[in-house]
């Protein structure tokens, strides 16, 4: 073989190896967490290992639409993950345990299924034992019907109820444990012993509910609600979020077909502006529903994502769809 021929063959062979090898090499050496809509697989991988105190560098990319990344029960800035771009995130965990990371963008009907876990190993202060949720210690069946037999004619007003409540002799009404364990209707019933009119009693309930929260808690609840709940339940709580129609369709078709988890039974999201439902639900009950999620419906489980405080803030915000807090909700 001529030397020039040999040279040309070597050149072409090297070119082929470089063209094929370079992308393969770098692709194999660049671990990236891919985000896809839950219908197409969600996070991949969805289990990440980490160690206490050691910074965890994550490189995230989206394969379809804009997603978001956040870790539950952890102070961190939520980041956006854009299609085809890579976002770097560094996390440091100071306690061992299993953390949940989740999508923060309403990417699709099954957005809330986009979750994964970070298994943080190592020694450190033992994770604090989880307190028994109030609904458990109260023995509440959070799947039971909780309709209020009576509803107010006009929206109850805290301003009107404030003075009336102050005049009431019994003081345990404003007690936090009492508030959390009772539904507005139950308190309305207790107030029957007073000589207030029905409207006045509802106003008192409203002011009691407001006295058990703060404007900061309501603002925090509102923000959490807008980010995490409004997609289904609607910005104004009416159960008409952007996904509501699709959820209903998916729910109906899954009830007809009884196909697997992907189409699992979904229902129309609860309407928080409906007084029959809301005034019959105690804060502890709503807390339980948020914490655990509604098995068999599209309601996700938030216990691994929200802190206890965040859930209580959300609960107090939910009642603002019933009660007139007079500008307290910003």
């Amino acid at each position: 073989m001529k030397r020039s021929e040999l040279l040309s063959r070597i050149l072409i062979t090297v070119a082929i190896l470089v063209a094929v090898g370079t992308p393969l090499f770098f692709w194999a050496r660049t671990p990236i967490i891919h985000a896809q809509m839950a219908e197409d697989g969600g996070w991949s991988p969805d289990v990440i290992q980490a160690a206490v105190g050691k910074p965890l560098h994550l490189r995230l990319t989206s394969d379809d639409v804009v997603h978001g990344f956040a870790v539950g029960q952890m102070e961190m800035d939520v980041v956006d993950i854009e299609p085809g771009k890579v976002t770097d995130v560094t996390l440091t965990f100071d306690k061992p345990g299993i953390y949940t990371f989740f999508c923060t963008r309403w990417c699709g009907l099954n957005h809330w299924r986009m979750r994964g876990t970070i298994e943080v190993s190592g020694s450190g202060s033992d994770p604090a034992p989880v307190a028994t949720p109030l609904y458990v210690s109260l023995g509440l069946d959070i799947d039971a019907q909780h309709e209020s037999p009576m509803v107010p004619i006009d929206q109850p007003s805290s301003v009107r109820g404030q003075q009336l409540a102050a005049d009431l002799e019994s003081s345990n009404f404003s007690d936090q444990d009492f508030y959390r364990a009772n539904s507005p209707y139950q308190v309305f019933e207790v107030l029957e012993s007073t000589n207030l009119t029905e409207t006045e009693r509802w106003d008192v309930v409203s002011s009691l509910w407001q006295s058990n929260t703060t404007s900061e808690a309501l603002a925090n609840g509102k923000q959490l609600y807008a980010q995490n709940c409004a997609a289904c339940h609607g910005e104004n709580g009416a159960g008409n979020g952007v996904f509501a129609d699709d959820l209903q369709v998916a729910g109906e078709s899954s009830m007809r077909n009884m196909t697997g988890a992907n189409d699992m039974l979904m229902q129309t999201p609860v309407d928080f502006t409906n007084p029959t439902q809301m005034l019959g639900a105690s804060p502890a009950l709503l807390y339980g529903k948020i914490l655990r999620g509604g098995m068999g419906t599209g309601m996700p489980m938030w216990g691994s994502i929200f802190t206890q405080e965040q859930i209580w803030d959300l609960v107090s915000y939910l009642y603002s769809f019933q009660f007139d807090y007079q500008g307290e909700v910003q």
């Binding site: 072409i12 082929i16 992308p23 490189r59 394969d63 299609p83 770097d88």
Partner: protein, 453 residues
């Protein structure tokens, strides 16, 4: 109609005769091609961020349809890397012919398929899936790889570049439109060819023992064309092999007026239908991909659904039935019916420049709209978060929006004028009036103007 022989200039001549310059370009395009396949397969599935989509369907397409085809005809075929591996296998060498030829089947291509109908079909196959192909890196990677392997496989079974000549989905229309290009490969003096024994330009040097001893050793035309008989660019791949092989230095690359080949139209049905396929698909694409009808986009994208099947049927009906029948209706009122087929094919020549300019106008809009992806994609070709050139974060920004509409109008109106002039020549050949053909072109141009603007 003057012609300027480019190979008269020593620098051009030696660049063409020497195998190394072309090989160097081949290596670059081969690396790009393989990289595009790999990027498609392992890179980000997001098309606008993947080298395979951005470089093949935006950068390469822009260069091909806006520069290479209009100005260099089959210029792309001259540097396309697809035949390279197969040809190495087939010839047993990369440079000059080896002493011992490898024993492959070397079959002649079946006579019944010696036309561009397979290319018409392969183009349409891709065209029907284009919405998915053009946006999905995986699919693009697979199609590119399939073409490479098909070319290698065919090289082992058939002689010469069977893939390029008869199967390549792109080669068909490049050939058709290359007739309009101001560049050609032709012999200098017919008498020299007549006397030449062995015709090494077609048969290869090794089979020509009578050829005068010279440094000119090479292969027979890979495109299965006898250069001595070339009258149009359609099937000359500009591979330059005959220039290297000709013992009499009788082959030249010429600069010539645009659309010189169309003055004497050839009358083949496969080429006539290629003209309709290209004209029709430019119009359908303009409507489906650029038009305001979201439903159409969805239907074209959802390959395999019932709606897509209807879309495919309508696509094929427009190209194979509606547009040709309308054309036939236009021309059938004149002259006798006996030579109708010949007249149909001859007059369809007028649609060649029209179709080319339709594609230029159509491509301008999506190329200018998406060219800014090239910067980001160069910097992060696989979507792995690299920033090789510091331009990975370059934002998407449509370019030259102010000249888009005027540019498209100019291309379409220019295409109509060009087509009308071609129609006049073709109708002289067919001895009929050119008015119906010009009316047909006018109608098509108006539809295209409406679709694009």
């Amino acid at each position: 109609m003057g012609r300027v022989e480019l190979t008269r200039f020593p620098i051009i001549k030696s660049a063409v005769k020497n195998r190394w310059p072309q090989l160097a370009v081949f290596i670059v395009t081969l690396v790009g091609y393989l990289f595009a396949i790999l990027a498609g397969l392992v890179g980000t599935p997001v098309g606008s961020r993947n080298f395979s989509i951005v470089f093949v369907w935006i950068a390469w397409w822009a260069i091909l349809i806006l520069v290479a085809v209009p100005f260099f005809g089959r210029g792309w075929c001259a540097v396309c890397p697809i035949p390279l591996p197969g040809e190495w296998l087939q010839r047993g060498a990369i440079l000059a012919p080896p002493d011992k030829k490898p024993k492959w089947l070397n079959l002649r291509w079946p006579r019944a398929l010696r036309n561009i109908w397979l290319q018409n079909i392969s183009f349409l196959l891709l065209a029907l899936f284009s919405s998915v192909l053009l946006t999905t890196p995986n699919i693009t990677g697979i199609v590119l790889a399939a073409m490479l392997f098909a070319a290698i496989g065919l090289s082992a079974v058939f002689e010469r570049r069977a893939f390029c000549r008869y199967l390549c989905p792109v080669g068909g229309f490049i050939g058709l439109y290359s007739q309009t290009a101001p560049i050609e490969l032709r012999i200098k003096d017919k008498k020299v060819c007549v006397k030449c024994e062995g015709k090494p330009c077609y048969n290869g040097s090794s089979t020509s023992p009578t050829a005068p001893l010279s440094a000119n050793t090479g292969y027979g035309c890979p495109w299965d064309v006898f250069p001595g008989g070339l009258t149009k660019n359609t099937y000359c791949g500009l591979c330059m092999e005959c220039i290297r092989t000709c013992p009499y230095d009788n082959i030249a690359i010429n600069l010539r007026p645009f659309s010189a080949d169309l003055a004497k139209p050839s009358a083949r049905m496969d080429e006539a239908f290629k003209a309709f396929i290209m004209l029709g698909s430019a119009m359908i694409y303009a409507g489906v991909l650029l038009g305001p009808w979201g439903v159409l986009k969805d239907v074209a994208y959802n390959v395999g659904t019932g709606a897509w099947l209807i879309y495919a049927m309508v696509f094929l009906a427009i190209i194979f039935i509606i547009m040709p029948s309308l054309f036939a209706l236009c021309i059938s009122r004149f002259g006798n019916l006996n030579a109708f087929k010949k007249r149909f094919a001859t007059l369809s020549t007028a649609l060649i420049p029209l179709g080319l300019m339709f594609w230029v106008a159509f491509s301008l809009s999506f190329v200018l709209a998406n060219a800014s992806y090239i910067l980001a994609s160069l910097s992060d070709p696989l979507g792995l978060g690299w920033n090789l050139l510091g331009t990975a974060k370059a934002a998407w920004q449509p370019m030259l929006t102010s000249i888009l509409a005027p540019g498209q109008t100019l291309a379409l109106v220019g295409g109509l004028v060009w087509s009308a002039r071609t129609a006049q020549k073709a109708s002289t050949e067919a001895q009929v009036s050119s008015v119906p053909v010009i009316a047909y072109s006018l109608l098509a141009t108006l539809v295209m103007l409406w679709l694009l603007l």
